[in-house]
């Protein structure tokens, strides 16, 4: 064999690096740069920015993100079950019920303890 099967990976890697470098370098060479204060500001849909771009934000956003991930994963695991509903039969139903019960207890706990209220 002329090339090792890994040669394609190497070629892909080289192409990826070269293209990425080209795309970021070419505009810098050919554009004209005349910055002024308004142009250098952070772009917020035309509205004048009110605060620094990098700042602290409340930890409750992380809480929302975590809760979202839980239900996202739950929904994702429903799909394969729904597609194969008839083949999996009673066994699949039992598995899903177990899954929902475990998740449901956690859901009830978070709800009752005020995890969903925006404090």
């Amino acid at each position: 064999m002329l090339f090792s099967p890994w040669a394609t990976v190497a070629i892909f890697f080289v192409v990826a690096v070269v293209v990425a470098l080209l795309i970021s370098a070419v505009p810098g060479i050919f554009t004209s740069k005349r910055p002024n204060r308004a142009k250098s500001e952070a772009y917020e849909c035309g509205v004048p920015p009110t605060s620094a771009m990098i700042g602290r934000f409340p930890v409750r956003f992380y809480l929302v993100a975590m809760l979202f991930v839980i239900f996202d994963v739950e929904a994702a695991s429903f799909y394969p079950w729904a597609v194969r509903l008839r083949d999996l039969g009673a066994f699949g139903l039992m598995e899903m019920v177990t899954f929902i019960v475990v998740l449901g207890v956690g859901y009830a706990y978070v709800w009752k303890k005020g995890g969903f209220s925006w404090r």
Partner: protein, 472 residues
């Protein structure tokens, strides 16, 4: 057509019992507004004992389920018992009046139970996916538990440090697993042994990253830097759980990996021997200057993890018996020492400070005698479990070539250094008390039970080790 996987429910009965217990604790906490936390922890303890009862018929059997991905065999059984013992004692110590639980006893107890489930999965996992699943279940719950001393700053620090460094270690571990899978073409450990035999950069790289991840969780030097801060910051009962349960579960994984993958030839484990020697040095030397007992026991734990690695030298079933014996000894003496700290302060954090022990031998001679017993065992004095364990470890290491001898020398030197550390604590108990000594009058029955369990274990294993060794 889908092939349904046959599930042998008996094999995972202990896990199922614990899952049900964890959920029950949450539901009881929800339904009764005024349930005392002792009730919730009591449910946890009953569940832990029920899981132990479910394990009894599995003893001496070699069973697998989930298509061979989860095993209950003579390998996992002793580790499972240690995990349940640790859960029971940690929950018992959490019942004490001043024990911290983040004002959320239901979640606290459930998390401790879920941690133990992760440990059981780790001990029984025979595939890379099973190992990762168990590890994350164990770790994620522990990150939260480390922070349950909430208003205390050091507890927040512990949680943050643990979650950041722990996630990094998990990253190493899963990347290593990906490479191992690439080299073996299978996630099963049994298939890994062919790849180990063939060697190759993919396998070596994968094993190196896997080892880094495991060494972090075991707190082997140089991956130990998180240990003292996390042990010091976490609530007392959580620290006790962390010290014993995480080591038991991770050593179960490491031993199974070493036995299944490198059963034919342990020469690839040399990096592990180096980590062990480093741990023995760092742990014992680091413990010298500590004035906080939780930090001191953290460094002691680093050294003990190094000792435990010796059991894997010259991999074989004899090594696993040694490992289980020393882990059992380690569990009894550590849980005992933590139980004494909890006993005299009724579960508060003040009594983790070494100065609280000045003059204890005159104020509370019985408690001081038991504390002395646990520290003598940690040092490895004859007639205690620690001594027999170290003798077994030395025997195991001496038959394992030059690296085994090097580790045996490190164990002896480390033990000599550790005498200074442990006798310092004993010395404090006999020193005259300061005028402003903190009150050490805790006397709760539940902590006495935990202390007694530790003392009986240390003495029985130290005087009649055959009781345990005959069954391994």
């Amino acid at each position: 057509m889908i092939q349904s996987v046959a599930i042998d429910w008996n094999v995972i009965a202990p896990v199922v019992v614990l899952v049900a217990t964890g959920l029950l604790v949450l539901v009881v906490d929800l339904l009764s507004r005024s349930a005392p936390r002792q009730l919730l922890y009591g449910i946890g303890i009953v569940g832990s004992l029920a899981a132990f009862a479910a394990m009894l018929p599995l003893r001496g059997q070699e069973l697998t389920t989930f298509g061979g991905a989860f095993a209950s065999d003579s390998f996992s059984w002793p580790f499972d018992v240690l995990l349940l013992l640790t859960l029971t004692i940690s929950l018992a110590l959490s019942c004490l009046g001043k024990a911290e639980d983040g004002a959320n006893p239901g979640a606290y107890a459930a998390l401790l139970i879920f941690c133990t489930i992760g440990g059981l999965i780790l001990a029984g996992a025979t595939t890379l996916i099973g190992i990762f699943l168990g590890l994350e279940e164990l770790s994620l719950a522990l990150y939260v538990l480390a922070g349950t001393g909430y208003p205390r700053r050091s507890s927040q620090e512990a949680a943050l440090k643990y979650v950041l460094l722990g996630s990094l270690a998990s990253g190493f571990l899963i990347f290593g697993m990906a490479l191992l899978y690439g080299s073996a073409g299978s996630i099963s450990l049994a298939a890994m042994s062919h790849a180990a035999y063939a060697g190759g950069p993919l396998f070596i790289g994968g094993f190196a990253l896997f080892l880094v991840g495991v060494a972090f969780k075991l707190a082997l030097a140089p991956f130990h830097l998180w240990t003292p801060d996390v042990y010091e910051g976490s609530p007392l009962a959580v620290t006790a759980f962390m010290a014993v349960a995480v080591k038991a579960a991770m050593f179960a994984v490491l031993a199974r990996f070493a036995y299944v993958v490198f059963g034919h030839d342990a020469s690839a484990l040399v990096p592990l021997w180096i980590l062990a020697i480093l741990s023995m040095i760092v742990g014992n030397v680091g413990a010298i200057r500590q004035t906080n007992l939780k930090r001191l026991l953290a460094f002691s734990g680093i050294a003990q993890a190094g000792y435990l690695v010796l059991a894997l030298a010259g991999v074989g079933r004899g090594g696993v018996a040694t490992l289980v014996f020393y882990l059992a000894a380690y569990a009894f003496m550590n849980l005992g020492a933590f139980a004494v700290i909890a006993l005299i302060g009724n579960g508060d954090e003040l009594h983790a400070d070494l100065s609280a022990y000045r003059g204890l031998a005159f104020r509370r001679p019985m408690v001081a005698a038991l504390m002395m017993l646990f520290f003598l065992s940690l040092a490895g004095i004859p007639a205690t479990a620690g001594f027999i364990g170290k003798v077994l470890l030395l025997g195991q290491a001496m038959g394992a070539g030059p690296w085994g001898v090097a580790m045996a020398v490190a164990l002896i030197v480390g033990t000599l250094v550790s005498f200074y550390v442990y006798f310092q604590v004993i010395w404090q108990m006999f020193a005259p008390a300061d005028a402003e000594a903190v009150a050490s009058d805790g006397n709760a029955a539940v902590s006495w039970v935990a202390v007694a369990a530790g003392a009986v274990g240390v003495l029985l294993l130290g005087i009649v080790p055959q009781l345990l060794l005959a069954h391994l």
